[in-house]
């Protein structure tokens, strides 16, 4: 596989989590996970007003770390 193909796979898998935690947990399946609680929050509500934002940050730094590793290999 070329560097670009590996990059595309990495991108799509991280974007899957991006979609899952915001549009998924925060909106579409929010009702189905609401029986779970974090403190006073129902889980769906927490994802839509707090959790998704934390996940976004983790995703960006994960991508940055992993793709830089790919790039170093590619340069060798």
């Amino acid at each position: 596989m070329t560097f670009w193909q590996k990059n595309l796979i990495l991108l799509s898998s991280l974007l899957f989590f991006w979609f899952l935690c915001s549009f998924g947990f925060g909106i579409l399946f929010s009702e189905y996970i609401s029986f779970m609680k974090i403190g006073g929050f129902e889980l769906g509500f927490w994802f839509s007003q707090q959790g998704s934002i934390y996940v976004f940050i983790i995703l960006i730094f994960t991508y940055s770390y992993l793709v830089e590793r790919l790039e170093r290999k590619e340069k060798k």
């Binding site: 403190g39 006073g40 509500f45 007003q49 707090q50 934002i53 991508y63």
Partner: protein, 582 residues
């Protein structure tokens, strides 16, 4: 010392700081002016991006908006942060690798066409102008409340300050000023939030206090809030009241719109390389998240607090802040049942949408209104949502220096965003229209002069919009994001991820997205506002979320047209190959 004197000192000191930074880092070349010499540290750029991104609306209005929208307010929280994932993963590093000065620059060269470049400039100017008018208005509001000068005077002072540091310093000047503005802004936002959180829940971290139990009680704050507002006839705080498809589309339009906003994208042109661009987007989101995760907490604290201090209280016992804001005209009380107490519940207190004050006072000292009472609701209190953040320190009885600090923070938020927008407008005029399209023979010195002239003229126009706000300013926010999502984002994305997309496809795609989104919004907001409800919307999608459909159309047109036009020249495919390489 009086609150006002202290506010003058705080605001004066912060302005002096911004101007001295700008003088120390003024631009000497077009490279400095457009992209800060491409030498900005990724963390500093992250902070500057956060200040650039968080406007008067984020700082002043968002918590108030969420306080009254409840769960529906999540669209702003997810929408305005999730876009950074798209930026960091899909656009910023590649556009940085390309290495020129503006967004239309990339579109013009990648799609080998000056027509594409000019269409991009038009989209950019439209997006940025709707945005900048709101900033100048924010400056005016802060000045009139805290410094008791006329809104017009406030806008003039704001214009003067931005003029000095944006025109002198260019991108380099505003980057370092924005770093300072971020610090002022975030400190000013967090201090009242922390105090409010301790006051209500005993937990000093607002993000946790939001999910914690109320002080000396076994009830969670969020459950108490839900119960209180349901009792008053509002819909529950923790459940969506809009349809899921609309919530989905608005969130998506804001996310893709964020990723396509030119003044955000160019921030990533100022760092040394593509790795730095990616990391910088991550830092930017960290700095943004500090405010964005605090906002919903502040929203819930403020809503609960407001109801507690107002509901069934005698007007004579109303707290001072209530009367302060009533004097400015952003709160009003109409004693419909003549009991001398304020009743607050769902529904509007009067038939009109805003209070119309007479210059008379009632027997209790309240300002009398000319409005016609709305008999179908027992609500007597009108509250402008925009004051929540500004009023918080007073509501929480915080010391006066906190009030002064919040005023300085609000100004920092408005000025930093205005400066960023100003710069993308002026550089797209001097660089894309003049240097690249109509007057290619001008020297670098001339180009720099034109860039400064364009910045000066843009400030004047923006100031005028702030002084004479068109009634539709609030209505057109949907425009900026919808248009960015339906025009610039798809073209930038395909420009990087597909080598074969042609200039015909890009021009056709941008125009389709622009015309579709523009007409849909104009139809429902201006031509037939009486039809603006889900019965008439396409698939139940409101004008705020329609940018997503515009974006899908744009992608479809690009795919179809690319199939039927001949391949881009070899040099363009090589360009795409180069920007993908690490």
């Amino acid at each position: 010392m009086e609150a006002q004197t202290l506010t003058y000192i705080f605001v004066g000191l912060s302005f002096a700081l911004y101007i001295s930074i700008a003088i120390a880092s003024r631009a000497k070349s077009t490279n400095d002016f457009y992209v800060a010499g491409k030498g900005v540290n990724p963390v500093a750029n992250g902070m500057a991006t956060a200040a650039d991104w968080m406007s008067a609306a984020s700082f002043l209005s968002m918590a108030g908006l969420i306080a009254f929208l409840g769960r529906d307010g999540s669209v702003y929280l997810m929408g305005w942060t999730g876009g950074y994932v798209l930026l960091a993963l899909l656009l910023a590093p590649y556009l940085r690798k390309y290495g020129k000065y503006t967004v239309p620059d990339f579109i013009g060269e990648r799609y080998y066409s000056n027509v594409a470049r000019v269409v991009a400039v038009i989209c950019l100017i439209f997006i940025s102008f709707t945005y900048i008018a709101g900033q100048m208005r924010g400056v005016g509001i802060v000045f009139s409340r805290f410094l008791e000068v006329e809104i017009e005077m406030g806008v003039f002072i704001g214009m003067g300050i931005v003029f000095i540091y944006a025109v002198l310093g260019g991108m380099k000047g505003i980057t370092y000023t924005q770093v300072a503005q971020y610090c002022v802004m975030i400190f000013a936002y967090l201090v009242p939030a922390i105090f409010l959180s301790i006051m209500l829940t005993g937990n000093p971290i607002p993000q946790l206090g939001f999910g914690d139990k109320l002080l000396n009680s076994d009830i969670y704050l969020i459950n108490k809030l839900d119960k209180t507002i349901i009792d008053l006839g509002f819909s529950p705080y923790t459940e969506y009241s809009k349809s899921l498809i609309d919530i989905f589309c608005i969130t998506a339009a804001l996310m893709f719109g964020t990723a396509g906003l030119p003044h955000v994208i160019v921030r990533f042109f100022t760092v040394p390389n593509m790795q730095a661009a990616r990391r910088s987007a991550g830092y930017a989101l960290v700095f943004i998240a500090i405010l964005y995760t605090t906002a919903p907490a502040v929203a819930s604290f403020a809503r609960l607090n407001f109801i507690d201090s107002v509901q069934n209280t005698f007007y004579e016992d109303a707290p001072d802040w209530f009367r302060n804001w009533e004097n400015i005209g952003l709160i009003s009380w109409m004693d419909k049942n003549q009991d001398g107490k304020m009743q607050y519940s769902s529904g509007s207190p009067f038939v009109e949408s805003r209070p119309i004050f007479t210059d008379k006072r009632g027997s209790l000292g309240q300002r009398l209104l000319e409005n016609e009472a709305n008999t179908s609701s027992s609500n007597e209190v009108y509250l402008d949502r925009d004051i929540i953040v500004l009023a918080n320190p007073e509501i929480a009885n915080l010391p006066i220096w906190v009030i002064a600090l919040v005023a300085a923070g609000g100004l920092a938020a408005a000025l930093s965003t205005a400066a960023g927008l100003l710069l993308v407008i002026s550089s797209s005029i001097s660089h894309d229209l003049m240097k690249q399209t109509f007057m290619p023979q001008i020297t670098e010195k001339k180009e720099l002069l034109y860039a400064r002239l364009a910045a000066g003229i843009t400030i004047l126009l923006a100031g005028l919009l702030g002084i004479f706000p068109p009634a539709f300013v609030a209505q057109v926010v949907a425009f900026a994001f919808g248009l960015a999502a339906s025009t610039l984002f798809p073209v930038l994305f395909m420009g990087i991820f597909s080598k074969k997309t042609t200039k015909e496809a890009a021009i056709g795609g941008m125009l389709t997205g622009l015309v579709f989104t523009f007409s849909y919004i104009v139809f429902f907001k201006f031509i037939s506002p009486e039809l603006n409800n889900s019965d008439y919307w396409f698939l139940g999608i409101s004008p705020e979320g329609i940018g997503v459909i515009g974006m899908i159309l744009n992608f479809l047109i690009m795919l179809l047209v690319t199939k039927s036009s001949k391949n881009p020249p070899e040099s363009v495919m090589d360009l795409v190959e180069t920007i993908r390489r690490p």
